[in-house]
Subunit: 458 residues, 2 copies
């Protein structure tokens, strides 16, 4: 459909364009605008915008990328702009104001009602990661003493502009949250029943400053469609809807992926990020880890004499480092994800560690045995020119391997939990960090064992 509209626009078949977009969802229409923006077809975008029914245009607007929105705002009249702003839900309006440069914000506010301006200013105060930053004020609420019939009248009268009508909130004249009632309950109730008699009083709610990641978890735990937000005085000030909670879940997951790969969280989709920003997000950790890896290098330097005598030892380093890295990232990934899903708590520390130690011994034994066999065959039995100390070398490597796996799995589970204990994001203690530490320890074990067990030669 999106491609079809682009072709029709290119062929200037505007009647057909109008017909096609009428069958499209707002998010798909927005994507047409995003594509036009990439093609720098500003005039066509404006033309398409004016072809759309006004409501569709406003709805599509809320789904566009912010640079596309900015372009469009630059082309349309104040009248058109006022219509859009009027149709936008408060949470989308706040997002828009946050994304636009100062001169555009000025024009937006100039075209808003005084009430909206005051609300916008209030919403802009909430920190980025708080409930306040994703809530909206388009919800239905009533007083506890009205009847179901009256409630339906209120919904019919005010519902058209609300982001959701399916969960209605019950509040006192002072806006204290008293209960919640769903449209399903209203439909199944006697029309003359009082709201206070059918509402649930035990309402799950959050505060404006609560962490939005925790809020997203509430949605998935309690299968809710919306969640009320109250201020410090427990007054109802807004709601959060499930679509925004789902967005938060995905953003937080993306952030975890990025941190776990040693990057600063990105502000935009990959393809929309300039090369310089991508590099900037990655370079800090690369530098830190590169300098940390020099510690391992320094350890190796310490054993230069041993290496000069038996350079074969060096050929095991990639295998030891690689396996340590992989074991560590397996453990840390399981723990970080488990904590993100609240499946693992800090109080499980010893239980988790003990589990990892046993997993490490199991995996380590299999890897060691495979490795011992390989070395014994390759450098001993099957070699044209057998190495005299094959068995001893195989033993050194295999023992180091078991130690490495145990170290990697232990660090992999302990460091993320430690980070959480210190109120840091556990995701920073992921593969890159743990690999670097494991490398150093594994090299230390390797050469210490080698010098001890092959001492006569080194």
């Amino acid at each position: 459909m999106i491609a079809k509209v682009l072709v029709l626009l290119h062929e200037k078949k505007y009647a057909l364009v109008r017909e096609t977009v009428q069958q499209m969802k707002p998010v798909d229409i927005a994507e047409v605008f995003d594509e036009l923006h990439e093609l720098e077809a500003r005039e066509t975008a404006l033309r398409l915008f004016r072809l759309l029914p006004k409501e569709s245009a406003a709805e599509a607007f809320s789904y566009m990328e912010s640079d596309v929105q900015q372009d469009l705002i630059g082309s349309i009249s104040d009248n058109e702009l006022r219509f859009i702003l009027d149709e936008l839900y408060m949470d989308d309006y706040v997002d828009l104001v946050e994304e636009m440069p100062a001169n555009v914000v000025k024009r937006l506010l100039a075209n808003s009602s005084e009430g909206s301006r005051a609300l916008i200013n209030q919403y802009l105060q909430y920190p980025d990661d708080s409930a306040g930053s994703i809530m909206t004020n388009e919800y239905v609420y009533f007083r506890p003493h009205i009847t179901v019939r009256e409630a339906f009248d209120i919904i019919r009268k005010t519902g058209v502009d609300k982001e959701t009508i399916y969960t209605c909130y019950v509040a006192s004249p002072a806006r204290m949250l008293e209960g919640v009632v769903t449209v399903k309950e209203l439909l199944l109730a006697d029309p003359d029943a009082k709201i206070e008699d059918i509402m649930s009083r035990n309402v799950i709610h959050v505060h404006t400053l609560d962490d939005k990641e925790e809020i997203a978890k509430l949605f998935s735990r309690y299968d809710m469609l919306s969640l009320p937000v109250v201020d410090k005085e427990e007054r109802l000030v807004g709601i959060i809807t499930i679509d925004d909670a789902v967005d938060v879940m995905q953003e937080e997951t993306t952030e975890d992926f990025e941190m776990m790969a040693g990057m600063a969280p990105s502000e935009d989709a990959y393809l929309r990020m300039p090369v310089f920003s991508l590099a900037k997000n990655r370079i800090l950790w690369l530098l830190i880890l590169m300098f940390s890896a020099m510690l391992t290098g320094a350890l190796i330097e310490h054993y230069e004499a041993a290496i000069a005598t038996l350079p074969l030892l060096v050929s095991f380093i990639p295998m030891l480092m690689g396996t340590g890295g992989n074991c560590g990232s397996q453990a840390s990934t399981m723990i970080i994800r488990g904590m993100a899903l609240d499946e693992i708590e800090l109080s499980d520390f010893f239980r988790v560690w003990w589990k990892e130690v046993r997993v490490a011994l199991l995996c380590g034994s299999v890897l060691s045995a495979a490795n011992f066999l390989r070395i014994w065959l390759q450098y001993g039995v099957l070699s044209a020119n057998p190495e005299p100390d094959t068995v001893m070398i195989a033993a050194v490597v295999s023992l180091t391997l078991i130690a490495t796996v145990c170290i990697a799995k232990s660090l992999g589970c302990m460091l993320p939990m430690l980070a959480k204990r210190l109120k840091l994001d556990p995701a920073i203690m992921a593969a890159p960090m743990i690999t670097t530490l494991t490398d150093a320890l594994s090299i230390l074990v390797f050469f210490s064992l080698a010098v001890t067990m092959l001492g006569s030669r080194l």
Copy 2:
């Protein structure tokens, strides 16, 4: 609250228990049962189950872990079981049947109506990753020619047992999906209007065999609360609700995390997995990667003579390998996540690669410069015993570093996209795989350059 109930149960204050659980959500009550199961307090669990209002008991049941459910089924009467099964939504019922051992399933089916049995058997046919496996048949639908008033009557009469009533489906007598109408639209419409005049005809729907991961993406793209499922003949057979879509998103993300760390996807939460299963999920990739790392070892062996002459070279290996691994995992993580969110398409291949190359040159230059300086200072200028070829060694390491970063970033973006092209999960081409490949290439470049540039000494 959960802890409170546990304490009250322990103190046998059952009246207080009953009072407390009445204020709790079903998922929280289910957690009390999970805790009791861990304490092996079977009798207490049964007692609590019988203290609960029947509906709450049945609802909490659907949130319990499957081994807890199995225990409970083993303790309760056929009558109690029938009540639970009657209350369960079809999707939860199917999940239950899938989790239970054969003898329990037999008892479940013996206590189900013939209609349910037939439906269960039909639902069990759908593959695990299909729409059919997460759909339910508890939805509201009507014929197109009825009025809004009649529609409300149907909702009032049948809605109590439906998983959602907020989106109603309109179907022909042959159950062909014709449209969709929301309760919001119904509430705002004239009671005498015909459904066919207010419904949307352009319904986003999926087929029973569609991939559930793609379906979860539809939910987040179109901000829907439920989605209709049709069979091959386009007949409406079920719906999927947003809570199940959110679960799918989280499962798929967890699977990506696991695959990206070189593990087989797990079937259960970390703490519930036996040590042996955890080890089994991890060992295959560890073995594959360990043997692949031996390739790098073999390359090093090839340069034994150079190492024996200038063992200092070895001390740079951890830094080169570490940086390569980190760069590769940064790139692959961005690309895999971008593809999972549909932000990156296969057609973006060259655009992505060109982006990564430029990022690699930027990052590589900074890392190289830092490294050159470090080597020049440490082994040359600031050394008590300066190494005669310091500048040359620094040049070899720095050039290798730039090459490594470029190789790592290129492989990091290309391999996941290649995997997708081959219809494999891109997540298998993540850090462990790319690190292993980068290691080998980086060592090759390093020693080739060393031999060429320091030839006179090696």
